[in-house]
Amino acid sequence: MTVSGRDDELRVRYAGLADVLIPAFDGMPSATQADVVTYWIDVVLALRTDLGPAFFEALEHAEGHPSEAVARLIDERPDAFSALGTLTAGAYFMNERVRELIEYPGQTTRDFVDELPLYLEMLERVDERGPIYRPTPDASHDGDME
């Protein structure tokens, strides 16, 4: 299930909706500028096949001006709109250039560092305030205890 395999009208319609959701703003590209419509949406549709039917339901019921269509979907087909939003945002953030612009390197790895010296002084103040738990009230057991 892909957008690129659909007819031109549907792809143009999706491009309009995607740019209403994610327009160009303050140095950030719009959804279409970030190749969401031409590439990434098909990638994420393959990853989230569960959302495909609702996503295409949204496209099929989004005739007319994109802003008005989005407003209508929100009111009348919230589940379809949710799928449209989840997949469009997911596709947008798959673009490496977008990740660079928001300064997100992905889930990177790093080695262990002993940070205790960085917070030891604060921790000593916790320790100095003393225990905060309520002890077991009855040391002796009843019933079939060991």
């Binding site: 327009p23 703003f25 889930q107 940070e115 917070y119 077991t136 057991h141």
Partner: protein, 541 residues
């Protein structure tokens, strides 16, 4: 459907290869008993975990969701939740939910075992913190826990075997806020290896713990217990969905009927049966195991099988900060925790309390999660970019987990219609939160906002969650009186002397902490008692 002939009679069947079942199987096999574990799921390959791939956050919402109704994997069974305020979460595989858990490794405090005595609500446990402490300390070693001893929220004891994981920018910033207020905090205790430990790799702080650790640093029992259990001769049958525990004419458990993934039914006979299928799966199985002797379900003469379900209420309070905090760095996991408001103070208008812990907010889809619930117009358009810019790398989450007191109306029962893929009746969860829990969460969320403000947050956002049923507790409670409990303090069913329950179902109260440390310590205590009993019987004969 044909029933295949039984294998030889096992000394013990363990149903479920998760947190508690893994402990039981390893100890039983080590003791030289023949043990067969029936697990409906399979092994999860480490290379399948998505944390190192760019689509991580997108697939975490479905294929790697902890909600079986969302994930819908072949090993899962559906859970009817239309009458529940919280969705139960679990993972059905070798290692069970430890494969996806956050690995917060937190003990109960002493008062958690004496709730009736101290606060005049709920019930006392038939054991104390002091009874369980040696088992907690052994499980710390077995799981390779990282943390720092000396936490004043707990009685003295042995420190964890590994040093605490780094707090990172988010943990240190949160600690600064707590320090300003003079409130308790402590480095988080996690079942995640800070250094290489017993074949596990050290944590690299990737922050994707809850979709499985691709590095093998997190202590899931497929890594910590199963290799050893198998080397001792334990038999593991994967893809084995148990339909019924059978009983003989005397009302003793005789074995289990299970269905393999090709739809064939098998019977495994055993001298003893241990159920370790979690707080939903265990009562489901007992209720499905009806017979002439047990018309209301196995071991259910008290009527309490499935009753008293507890699932911790949870709120996430996200703080937005001007400074860069690298807030996608792990563990996730807990960097620090607080027990400042854990104990009862009746002047607050409720009893019991909550535990807090700091978590990263993740990548861009994760930080957007904080804005869900706002008007749609504020989530899209220019605000889409503004929200990501404000929060990406500039935020962290205080998670607030409140104690859920037992209520017999909160329950697991069998659904009249819904079944799993093997036509076995599915569980239905009926759950409502209490006025006490709501008041508790309101109080704690207000205090957490103060903690964020003291740490320099410019804004906070609060979300309560429906999909927070990570902890499934109380549905086959332990106790001394067979009229008011299902099993005794050793997990042995009052009604069926060779049937044991050892998972979170046996909890008397829920505490307000992540329960896996207690589940596994209790399981160890129970199974060692079972082994001792068998030795005593053997020596007599």
């Amino acid at each position: 459907m044909s029933i295949h002939p039984p294998d030889e009679v096992a000394d013990v069947i363990v149903i479920g290869a998760g947190a508690s079942g893994s402990v039981a199987v390893r100890e039983l096999a080590l003791a030289g008993l023949s043990v067969v574990c029936l697990e409906q799921g399979d092994w999860t390959r480490r290379s399948d975990f998505p944390g190192q791939r760019p689509e991580w956050e997108l697939v975490a919402q479905q294929q790697w969701s902890a909600d079986p109704n969302v994930r819908r994997a072949s090993a899962d069974y559906p859970v009817e939740v239309s009458d529940s305020e919280i969705d139960p979460l679990m993972y059905n595989a070798v290692g069970g939910s430890t494969v996806l858990y956050a690995a917060n490794w937190v003990r109960f405090v002493p008062s958690d075992f004496r709730v009736r005595t101290l606060d005049q609500v709920a019930d006392d446990w038939p054991l104390t913190y002091e009874d369980l402490q040696p088992y907690y300390e052994r499980m710390d070693q077995d799981m390779g826990v990282s943390g720092l001893g000396g936490d004043p929220a707990y009685p003295p004891g042995a420190p964890p075997p590994l040093p605490p994981l780094p707090l990172g920018s988010i943990g240190r910033r949160g600690a600064q806020g707590m320090d300003q207020l003079g409130w308790h905090w402590w480095p988080g205790s996690n079942a995640i290896a800070a250094r290489a430990y017993r074949g596990r790799s050290p944590c690299v702080r990737q922050g994707t713990c809850m979709t499985g650790c691709p590095h093998g640093a997190k202590a899931s029992t497929d890594l910590t217990h199963w290799p050893e259990a198998l080397s001792y001769g334990a038999k593991l049958v994967t893809g084995a969905r148990v339909r019924e525990i059978t009983v003989d004419a005397r009302g003793r458990a005789s074995g289990a009927l299970y269905i393999d993934r090709d739809g064939r039914e098998h019977f495994q006979a055993a001298s003893s049966v241990i159920v370790a299928a979690n707080g939903v799966g265990t009562p489901r199985l007992l209720l499905n195991s009806k017979s002439k002797l047990f018309p209301d379900g196995l071991a259910n003469h008290s009527g309490l099988v499935g009753r008293r379900l507890m699932m911790h209420p949870f709120a996430a309070v996200i703080g937005l900060y001007d400074d860069p905090l690298e807030s996608w760095i792990g563990p996730a996991g807990q960097t620090i925790h607080s027990m400042q408001f854990y104990e009862t103070d009746e002047s607050r208008g409720f009893v019991r309390g909550a535990k807090w812990n700091i978590l990263p907010t993740g990548g861009p889809l994760g930080v957007r999660w904080g804005f869900i619930g706002r008007p749609v117009a504020e989530q899209w358009g220019a605000d889409f970019h503004r929200n990501v810019r404000r929060s990406m790398g500039h935020s962290f989450q205080w998670g607030v987990m409140g104690e859920d007191l037992p209520d017999e109306q909160n329950r697991v029962e069998l659904d009249d219609v819904l079944t799993d893929s093997d036509a076995i009746p599915a569980p239905k969860v009926v759950y409502r939160s209490s006025a006490n829990a709501r008041a508790m969460m309101d109080f704690h969320v207000a205090r957490v906002r103060e903690a964020h403000a003291a740490a320099g947050a410019v804004e906070t956002m609060t979300r309560t969650m429906r999909d927070c049923g990570w902890h499934l507790l109380g549905t086959a409670r332990m106790g001394e009186d067979s009229r008011t409990s299902v099993v005794d303090q050793w997990g042995r069913a009052h009604d069926v002397p060779n049937l044991y329950v050892i998972d979170g179902s046996v909890f008397v109260t829920s505490s307000a902490v992540n329960p896996t440390a207690t589940i596994m310590a209790l399981a160890l205590r129970c199974v060692e008692h079972l082994i001792e009993q068998r030795r005593d019987q053997a020596s007599l004969t």
